[in-house]
């Protein structure tokens, strides 16, 4: 028994990993023996198998000399078989009496022969075949449910598949009995019947012989048919087959395939490759396996045992788009290599929340803009975080237009809809659509609040305004202007103001104003020369200015001073405008209104026009350059007014940028300088000078921009640079017009938005900008108009506005 115990110990080890301790070489013999044994019982059909009944079987297995008659009887009386057939005598059959002997090859051979003989004698009878594997039964495995299989199938299930369920009825069994008694029922066995017990596998062996056969199966037997080596473990086996047989094992198979060691296949290196790639199905061959190769992960270039393993890998290591999956559950599984690439997809095809927190959280993405908006209202009532705003520039949010949906509904933005439709995304071909420059200008909360207030307060266009104001912060508007420019161009018709840039903010007002801007001559007419009228206007202007200045007396007086300085020609129009920026922390659209009203006050047409022009120039520069041409045609190149829509967007974006830059950067300082310095005309130059290269660049754009689409493109280039740094570099780039083609609007937008420089540039532009002036006037006006429009258009802006919009939107909502 001692020896037995030892063996048992070994066995358990072996089951778990390697049977390394057994020096014997008999693996083969065991199998051959198995093969040779002609089990005599044929189980026909499940039923037969189930009750443990055997039909036509001959109960006799070589080792049970005394069994035959009894077995038969038992078989017939399948139920309780009280007959306690004499316990099978220990395997004492010919020569194999001792365990030790069995281990040797000789013993096996003997056994095999013996069996064969027996088989021969019983040839006439149908051999007993395992119901599961259709192979002759060597030893029986009996489960508590009295279902039988061959011991190999039982061992396979227990040791390889790790299941203790009965192959027939799935009943779990802690122990099964391996026996050579073909009919004895499970409950008829008593502990004393078992020579060996394997607690790990849950097998009780009625005979040592069976035990040793079982152990043999579990060893690291060399798969080579002519080799009877049993190795100590996988490494040992790998080494063995390589050195001795010059072959290899498939690593994936050895790790995953649920077969006994000797059942694995040996490959040459070439065959292994074929095996991995195509499988080793041998059409028509007897040993065809139906195996089609190990699937490979396209990202990792790593192969997996099967589809399930590959699936698990992809699930754990790669990413899937849940939105696409939900939309089309039937489609083939599509993965992204990592979250970054998935995020790009989100940006491109869905609506990703740009908030930094959400970006960190990941997967904050929505199927529709509405959903995104809802999320933003709920989760970011105060707008995006600073970080998000900052990042917004970098990221191509342009693709996302948060507002778009909304706006679309509102205003005539058909053009845009078509364009922005769904796919705003970074990935789009820039040339395809005009980029909607992201308008977003991140405002501080206080700024936002203020602007909002302003918007509400701003009288005239109360209705329109309110809405706009609420929706977007002033900044937002500013941002939009850019967009608007384009819009204007495109959809001028929609807004009365088409040409007028400024008024935009108050939609209604804008129109008039805008028009004015567009046609400076016209302006004159509207102006009331009379003193009284002038006074009224004056007071109205002051009211507005006061509101915008939050009734800050100091600022108000500064404002007055500036205005009178201009009147007295102490300062130029552009300087005047530059001086406003430090004072007014409001969206450019709002400022535009003020400027327009202010312009009306001046009886001197030259002054009035000069101021408007300066404003338009500024606007043109700051809010997206050329694109703005929205003024349609105003700009030189702008002939393509239609294209303009794109330009609008750009403008808006830029403007937004500008504003942001303003606030961000030294609003004041820069301005002053910029004004003076900026010779817009030479855009390039200006860009160089200005920190806000972006803006500068923008100027050039103006012209191009007029052709709506092109301009958008141009903006992109600019924006791109800006994202990284700030606008400076971009300015140079901008130079220009050429840009139009360029396209990543979003990026550009972002950059632009932020760049303080731009503002400066803008100013400079104003001065220089005359070209713009005319054009810009238009554009400028557009821009203003844009604000109002922006709100509506935001949606349109879609991509262009991208981040800016988003932000704005957020704010507004907030």
């Amino acid at each position: 028994m001692a020896s037995v115990t030892q063996v048992a110990g070994t066995h358990s080890h072996s089951t778990q990993s390697a049977i390394d301790s057994q020096p014997q070489n008999q693996v083969h013999s065991a199998f051959s023996r198995a093969g040779g044994r002609g089990g005599s019982r044929g189980l026909h059909g499940q039923e037969g198998a189930r009750g443990g009944n055997r039909r036509g079987g001959r109960g006799n297995r070589g080792n049970r000399p005394d069994g035959a008659p009894n077995q038969r009887a038992r078989r017939l009386s399948s139920s309780a078989n009280p007959s306690a057939p004499p316990m099978p005598s220990p395997p004492g059959l010919g020569g194999e009496g001792s365990f030790g002997a069995r281990l040797t090859k000789d013993a096996e051979t003997k056994e095999g022969q013996e069996r064969k003989e027996q088989d021969g004698t019983e040839d006439g009878v149908e051999a007993e075949v395992c119901f599961i594997c259709a192979s002759p039964v060597v030893h029986n495995s009996v489960a508590p449910c009295n279902h039988r299989t061959c011991h190999i199938c039982a061992l396979r299930l227990r040791a390889l598949y790790k299941t203790r369920a009965c192959a027939h009825c799935r009943t779990e069994a802690k122990f099964v009995i391996f026996t050579d008694d073909a009919t004895k029922r499970y409950e008829d066995f008593v502990e004393a019947d078992f020579q060996e017990t394997d607690e790990v596998l849950g097998i009780k062996y009625e005979q040592k012989e069976i035990y040793s056969d079982t152990i043999l199966l579990l060893r690291y037997n060399c798969p080579d048919e002519s080799c009877d080596i049993a190795c100590r473990g996988w490494p040992d086996l790998h080494r063995h087959v390589r050195s001795l047989h010059h072959k290899v094992l498939c690593d994936l198979c050895t790790r995953n395939k649920k077969v006994f060691t000797h059942e694995h296949e040996l490959f040459t290196q070439q065959d292994l490759k074929k095996h991995e790639k195509f499988g080793d199905d041998h059409p028509g061959a007897v040993d065809q396996s139906g195996f089609k190769g190990h699937p490979e992960c396209g990202f990792c270039r790593q192969r997996f045992y099967g589809d399930d393993e590959l699936y698990t890998h992809c699930r754990d290591k790669h990413e899937k788009c849940h939105i696409c999956d939900r939309r089309n559950p039937a489609r083939q599984q599509q993965y992204y290599v990592d979250y970054d690439s998935l995020e790009q997809h989100f940006r491109k095809d869905h609506f990703l929340c740009a908030d930094q927190e959400c970006m960190d959280k990941k997967f904050v993405v929505f199927e529709s803009e509405m959903d995104l908006k809802a999320h933003q209202l709920e989760a970011h009532p105060n707008g995006l975080t600073k970080d998000a705003r900052r990042d917004a520039r970098r990221v191509d949010i342009s693709a996302f237009d948060y507002r778009t949906p909304h706006q679309d509904n509102r205003g005539g933005r058909r053009d845009r809809e078509g364009r922005d439709g769904r796919g705003r995304g970074r990935g789009r071909d820039p040339n395809t659509e005009a980029l909607p420059p992201s308008t977003a200008q991140p405002l501080r909360r206080d700024e936002l609040a203020y602007q909002r207030q302003m918007a509400i307060q701003s009288v005239p266009s109360a209705t329109a305004r309110t809405f706009g104001g609420q929706l977007t912060s002033t900044d937002a508007y500013a941002a939009r202007p850019t967009g608007r420019n384009q819009d204007t161009v495109t959809a001028p018709s929609n807004h009365t103001t088409t040409n007028s840039s400024f008024p935009a903010i108050d939609n209604l007002h804008l129109d008039s104003v805008t028009n004015t801007a567009a046609d400076s001559p016209q302006f004159t007419a509207p102006v009331a020369p009379q003193e009284q009228a002038r006074r009224l206007q004056h007071s109205s202007v002051m009211d507005r200015a006061s509101t915008m200045l939050k009734y800050d007396q100091t600022k108000i007086s500064d404002f007055r001073g500036s205005v009178s300085s201009y009147r007295t020609s102490t300062v130029t129009a552009s300087q005047l405008i530059d001086s406003f920026f430090p004072l007014f922390d409001v969206p450019s659209a709002d400022l535009g209104k003020l400027v327009k009203e202010l312009a009306d006050i001046y009886e001197n047409e030259a002054k009035r026009n000069g101021l408007l022009k300066a404003w338009n120039d500024w606007r043109a520069i700051n809010e997206d350059y050329p694109s703005l041409p929205g003024p349609s045609g105003v700009l030189p190149g702008s002939s393509a007014a239609a294209a303009g829509s794109g330009g609008h967007r750009v403008l808006k974006l830029k403007s937004s940028t500008a504003q942001s830059s303003r606030s961000a950067v030294s609003k004041q300082g820069s301005w002053g300088k910029s004004t003076a310095a900026n010779p817009f005309p030479s855009i390039p130059t200006s860009s160089a000078k200005r920190a806000g290269a972006g803006r500068v660049g923008a100027t050039p754009w103006v012209a191009p921009s007029s052709s709506s689409r092109p301009s958008p493109a141009s903006p992109r280039p600019v924006s791109i640079p800006s994202p990284s740094g700030k606008p400076n570099g971009s300015a140079a780039v901008d130079a220009f017009p050429a840009l139009p083609a360029a396209a990543k609007p979003n990026t550009m937008m972002m950059g632009l938005t932020r760049g303080t420089v731009r503002w400066d540039d803008g100013r400079g532009n104003n001065n220089l900008a005359n070209p713009w002036g005319a054009a810009s006037g238009g554009s400028g006006s557009t821009a203003p108009a844009a604000p109002a429009a922006d709100v509506d258009r935001e949606a349109d802006m879609g991509r262009k506005k991208g981040k800016g919009n988003k932000k704005q939107t957020l704010y507004k909502f907030g």
Binding site: Q46, F131, I132, A167, G284, A285, D287, S289, G290
Partner: protein, 154 residues
């Protein structure tokens, strides 16, 4: 795996020896015994009567320890068959956790045939069709017949 090979071969031989009513089984490729083609006649009395359905049975390398998969190559209006290009059939016994190595292809096919006669809407893969089957059987029969006529013509 020799086990699968032997078992499948045996089952195929048995089934050819004793064919199932209303079914004709063949191997699309003599070279691959893991892929079976089955032509099932729409059972009499079912809305599928008169049609012939082409099914594909795929036996895994680990058969019988892993279940085979059964799919309809012929479009069929049935709550238990997916209405896509896969035509996967939902059979409880084919699920990995319910599969028994003792189950034979013959049983699987018989079960599939039974499903044609008696769909199991509670175990459906096509919810809409299942609902229709339960709530508006007339309509279901009409649709199933129409599809049979359209797709499963002899």
């Amino acid at each position: 795996m020799a086990t699968a090979q032997r078992r499948i071969t045996k089952e195929y031989a048995d089934i050819q020896k004793k064919p199932l009513d209303g079914m004709r089984i063949s191997l699309p490729s003599e070279a691959d015994i893991h892929q079976w083609q089955i032509l099932i006649d729409g059972p009499r009395g079912s809305p599928y009567e008169g049609g012939v359905f082409n099914l594909h049975l795929s036996l895994p390398t680990e058969y019988p320890f892993k279940p085979p998969t059964l799919s309809f190559k012929t479009k069929i209006y049935h709550p238990n068959v997916t209405n896509d290009d896969k035509g996967s059939m939902c059979l409880g016994m084919l699920r990995a956790d319910e599969w028994k190595p003792s189950s034979k292809v013959e049983a699987v096919l018989s079960f599939a045939q039974g499903l044609l006669l008696e769909p199991q809407p509670d175990d459906a893969v096509e919810g809409g069709i299942a609902r229709e089957y339960k709530e508006n059987k007339k309509e279901f029969v009409k649709n199933a017949k129409a599809w049979t006529k359209q797709y499963a013509k002899k």
